[in-house]
């Protein structure tokens, strides 16, 4: 039986190319399911999943919750803002308390990189990383690659540029791993202050000029400027950032080819991307969101198959 090589989805780094393709093939069928009049299958009817969000999220949390419900799992939600975490409980205690309510899988977002790795050694449930600090966001990278594959037929051989705040981005790191495992070429583009110093060691190209980066690529993945993670100034002003790295229709019109425009959301319209670009036919931002549900269904389904009865 073809199955995942891992017991938890902690990061793309741990996955093999075969794992990613297995997830894609499964997601294809789930995409079919969620486009039917009845968008639900009974597969995980005896599984309980806890969504633990120690950090804010709208899209990812909704997407996971919808994926879980489409698979008929029972779902409980937790967000740290309204919980005992504020009263001083440790992570393992919080999670173990939740697990003693007989939970089989945990989807977790945590501000500390590696929180998932730590938990996977201490608790007995399947763990899905929904973002850990500026480290990894594996399901986002999977859905990004899935969306590229859907539009361009193949990920291998494609040139993808990741533009913007790479330094604070977990989407960037997961995307670099996933794209490279699938055989794509990756470039990062942004102001020098927002590009990690040793990123070249990952085998990616670095470019500081947006127009040149766009001329090189087939796909541009525009990242959000994460103002909430910036305790010091990395660029003089938002306006200056937008002048240099904001994607506009002018950029796209000056290219001799048509490129795909992606964005992991939430969009800051008029900052990293203008409204015209975000709403243009080259933008696949809303397809990404739709594919997110199918990809998360596939990940949950494949990991659930490893739960012992």
């Amino acid at each position: 039986m073809e199955t995942l090589s891992v017991d938890h989805l902690l990061g793309i780094k741990d996955l093999t190319k075969e794992d990613i393709n297995l997830i894609f093939n499964t997601a294809d069928e789930f995409k079919d399911v969620i486009n039917r009049p009845i968008k639900k299958v009974p597969t995980l009817r005896d599984i309980t999943i806890a969504n633990l969000f120690f950090e804010n999220s709208t899209r990812t949390k909704l997407s996971f919750e919808l994926a879980e419900k489409r698979l008929s799992a029972d779902v409980i939600n937790f967000s740290s803002a309204s919980s005992s975490v504020k009263k001083g409980e440790t992570l393992v205690d919080t999670v173990n308390n939740i697990l003693s309510m007989k939970v089989d899988m945990v989807v977790i977002r945590h501000p500390n990189p590696g929180a998932h790795q730590f938990l996977s050694r201490h608790i007995d449930a399947k763990i899905v990383n929904a973002g850990d600090g500026a480290h990894e966001h594996p399901t986002q990278a999977l859905l990004d690659c899935f969306s590229i594959k859907e539009r361009l037929g193949e990920v291998a051989g494609k040139k993808v540029v990741i533009v913007g705040d790479v330094l604070h981005s977990r989407v960037a790191l997961s995307n670099i791993y996933a794209l490279q495992k699938l055989g794509a070429e990756v470039m990062v583009c942004g102001p020098a202050t927002l590009i990690p110093k040793y990123i070249g060691a990952l085998g990616v190209k670095v470019e500081h000029n947006l127009q040149r980066a766009l001329e090189w690529c087939d796909v541009a993945n525009m990242l959000r400027i994460q103002l909430e993670r910036q305790d010091s100034k990395f660029f003089p002003s938002i306006r200056e950032y937008t002048m240099q790295y904001g994607l506009t229709m002018n950029h796209l019109n000056n290219l001799k080819k048509e490129i795909l425009v992606m964005h992991p959301g939430p969009i800051n319209r008029g900052v990293e991307i203008t409204s015209e670009v975000a709403d243009s036919s080259q933008s696949i931002i809303l397809n990404q969101v739709e594919n997110g549900v199918a990809i998360r269904m596939a990940v949950l389904y494949l990991l659930a198959s490893k739960i012992n009865r």
Binding site: M1, E2, T3, L22, N25, T26, E29, D32, V33, R36, P37, I38, K40, V41, P42, T43, L44, L71, Y301, L302, A304, S305, I307, N308, R309
Partner: protein, 181 residues
Amino acid sequence: MQPREIINTTEFNLVIKRLAFQLIENHTNFEDTVLIGLQSKGVCLSDRLQQVLQEINPELKINVGYLDITFFRDDFRRTNKPLIANETKINFIIEGKKVVLVDDVLFTGRTIRAGLDAMLAFGRPSLVELLVFVDRRYKRDLPIQPTYVGKVVDSITSEKVTVEWKEVDGKDKVLMYSSEK
């Protein structure tokens, strides 16, 4: 041990023809009737039936769909059945239609149970019938009986019956594998 051929090619085609005539007897011009083959081997049978029905009466327009039951199984996490689903392709609404579910081998009835469940995502049929090529009686886990049967085979649980198709396996035949290997 070598498998035993329990239906040869000539017999095989006779059986399909008989099933096709039985369908015509009950559904005349297939106006409100659709065939749904269960992935993966039931699809071979539904395609073949469509072909034979059209040879008998070229005027017939028959809707044929494929249904995959992977996500509807009742043995998820309990067996090593494949995780990846095959394509479900039903380009019509089955609301109010007569549905003939088509599968190659009927054994415990659990696949058909899952098929009935999966089918409901496409509407509420007015009638559901079941057509199988081989009915392995004596080992039903559920109260499910076929409407049309190609051949009844008596076998024990440890034996295995497989239907082979010329499109997939090179030759039309039905084989029985005995318990000792």
